[in-house]
Amino acid sequence: MSDATTAAIEADALVRAFGARRAVDGVTFTLRKGECLALFGPNGAGKTTLLRVLAGLLRPTAGWARIAGTNLPGGAAARRRIGFISHASMLYGPLTARENVELAARLFGVCEPRAAAARALGEMHLMPRADAPVRALSRGMQQRVSIARAMVHEPSVVLLDEPFTGLDATGAAALSDSLATLRRSGAALVLVTHNLEEGLALATHAAIMSRGRFARFEERHTLDAASYASSYRTLVAHDA
């Protein structure tokens, strides 16, 4: 089903400004189906803003971005393809994990929301706590519910902002498995992280973002992890 030549995510000279500050300042890249971009960079480099533009939550100030050929911020059809995991859990504390995930399934028009929610919760090993209110769960558990919420509609583009933060070993392994499965089914991933090892382990492409731009953007197989790490450190130190 995956046509390797179709771009899943494209950005061209993408700019997003807040007032006079250009948080994203001319980003260009293309990601095909099944590919995964690991996005590194110091705090304030514009990673989160870039993800929010790609998620259709922020309007580009200049340039454009496309998800599967649809210009962002696209309509309902574009949003349905996207799964977004942000810093915040995007969950309702008083509702149970199951209710949260089921609500997302229904809002995304998943055919059998109950079954889909149960499957997504199962993949994150959440079934034992599925009927506990989210605010009673630990931070790591909440993060897993948040991931299940974002995956329940089987998105073809997944945007992840520091998804491993707060996860224990089980959660991290479950997330890695899910991401691998998604990629095999043709999904494209953008993974924002501070952890170079984690990012490079999953990625097909890697980028370092600094002051709103891609300071580096390469295919993973051309990189040597050790030298990449030292180059990243130099850049962060230089930035700070």
Binding site: L57, P73, A76, Y92, L95
Partner: protein, 226 residues
């Protein structure tokens, strides 16, 4: 994908489930309404003004303020963990989010009134008798207008530096054309006048509802699109 109304119902049901589970806003609004009813009684000289003459005015002032109390909570729950991003990222029209929130707020306001109005009738010796249906009709018309405007302003206020403080300041001028017709119609109702005499007031309420439900629904997407 769920249709626009289906999505709105999902959101309304979610909001009511949250409110039903926490119940804090509902109880504080009810207690606030009862307190207001009692305190207003002592603001007038009972020998000069009969309690029953005060009742319509007190009713609609309490209605407005307890309604505001419910509206505060409406968007706080969305911003706590940025759940609103989950709604904005879903393939549903923006208007559905507004409509869903407004429907839940309407249920909230009506639920508070179901307790507050009989309480006013009791404390102010207001003979409800055969007038319950007519009063419920006025209350519904008033509640729709209040919730239409209040939901929009609550969505805006929650994102400002002043937060909830801003909500009453923005909303109260907009409640003037609700409170005046509602209080006038109620007063006529309890003076035993025929309903036909209040039709002018009811028409203002109805026109207000139509104009502001439509305008606020069209305006809402502009308050969340970034």
């Amino acid at each position: 994908m769920p249709d626009a109304l289906g999505a709105a119902l999902l959101i309304a049901r979610k909001d009511l489930a949250i409110e039903f589970r926490t119940r804090t806003a509902f109880f504080s609004a009810v207690v606030f309404a009862l307190l207001g009813i009692v305190i207003f009684f002592f603001a007038w000289d009972p020998t000069a003004v009969a309690a029953v003459d005060l009742a319509p005015g007190v009713l609609w002032v309490i209605f407005t303020f307890s309604g505001l109390l419910g509206l505060h909570r409406s968007f706080g729950v969305e911003l706590a963990d940025r759940a609103i991003d989950g709604l904005l990222g879903a393939p549903i029209p923006r208007e559905s989010i507004y409509l869903g929130k407004a429907m839940a707020n309407l249920v909230f306001v009506i639920a508070v009134q179901v307790i507050a109005i009989p309480a006013i009738a009791l404390f102010y010796d207001m003979p409800l008798g055969g007038r319950v249906l007519a009063l419920a009709g006025i209350a519904l018309l008033a509640a729709i207008g209040l919730v239409a405007v209040g939901t929009l302003f609550a969505a805006m206020a929650v994102n400002t530096r002043l937060g909830e403080l801003l909500l009453p300041m923005l909303s109260l001028p907009f409640f003037v054309p609700i409170v005046i017709p509602a209080a006038q119609a109620t007063a006529r109702l309890f003076a035993g006048r025929p309903v036909a005499e209040s039709m002018g007031w009811l028409k203002i309420l109805l026109a207000y509802d139509i104009v502001f439900v439509a305008a606020c629904m069209m305006a809402f997407p502009h308050t969340i699109e970034e």
